[in-house]
Symmetry: C2
Subunit: 195 residues, 2 copies
Amino acid sequence: MAGGRPREFDVEVALDQAVRVFWQRGYEGAALSDLTEAMGINRPSLYAAFGNKESLFRKALERYTDRQAVHVRDALGCPTARAAAERMLRGAVEVSTQADCPAGCLSLQAGLAMSEDAVATRERLADWRRTGEAGLRERFERARDEGDLPAGTDPGDLAKFVVAVAQGISVQAADGVGREQLHRLVDLALTAWPA
Amino acid sequence: MAGGRPREFDVEVALDQAVRVFWQRGYEGAALSDLTEAMGINRPSLYAAFGNKESLFRKALERYTDRQAVHVRDALGCPTARAAAERMLRGAVEVSTQADCPAGCLSLQAGLAMSEDAVATRERLADWRRTGEAGLRERFERARDEGDLPAGTDPGDLAKFVVAVAQGISVQAADGVGREQLHRLVDLALTAWPA
DNA sequence: CGGGTTCTGTACCGCTTGGTCAAGAACCTG
DNA sequence: CAGGTTCTTGACCAAGCGGTACAGAACCCG
């Protein structure tokens, strides 16, 4: 019973790279060759250290939870409920817009993202979403001009808010949340409407 | 110059099936064999009628825009800005929770969804999101018990709202929206906070 | 009916995917 | 140094991917 050859890479460093690849390309979009290249190891080393692709993703998600999505835990420790909510949302913004990481949140991005050769389609979808938002913004601009919205209201910000809630609704529906609950979510969102 | 053999399938019906497959499995998760099977045609017929996979997806997205995402257009025609916002959000709920269609919105689902053999991973991600929401809900329950939240407030609804906004933020960040704009979105969302 | 045209079905292509085998190198212990 | 253990390397696998070639069937027009 001897020590054996020591591995030549740092497991945690390699895992961090795997997080980035999954975050950027998504689960299925991240090919093993993408992963091994970014992690600086070759295939059998990856399998020996992390199991298969799914197991690697599980570990990457755990590491993401510890290192990136800290606001989710932090929020629970906040003194007031409102502070918790704000911590959650501000944290989501910060994590999603880090300079040296892929934009967005791994939990959605792992699905939302696609492999390199589907760039055109991903961009088409983003354009589709932006077009919907732009229509809403223009409608809100008209409303402001007509006095239907308070003068201090920014139509662009308001459109982004409405679209963000709609997108959140879609995600939650995909996760199995029912229609009645989502309508209550809309009720709540609409209480944010500028008086 | 003659007519040639007529095609044996209805292009629009086949396209509707393609919409469903993309909606359910995502763009990359939808294999050509999934598409041809659902559409009831075989491969060369698909290529002759729709071009390649990307072109088929483009047409499917157009059809989805016309047939499913009607609330996006409808909203723009509403009499007031607030009605437009509400139409947008209620429509998102309805489309995302139709009984005979995949849950969620194609524009996100086309990325969020995965192929059949990645079910475990997709479910893991959904669980991850639900866990975060559950933590927030429990925090809000405590807050209500402590009088930090009004007695009439439903902690579960509030948690769903906060999480939905956070998810919307992630999507928008992935689509290139900057940090400052997203923080303004948070400001707006927080005005919905129960007094 | 014959010629031209377009669709359908099968079989196939090159390529990439996730995953593994077997040989050799590098280490620890005795 | 010898034996056992573990890592690294490169080649390899079956299966699935998106996409296509080709032959035959079904139609329209003259």
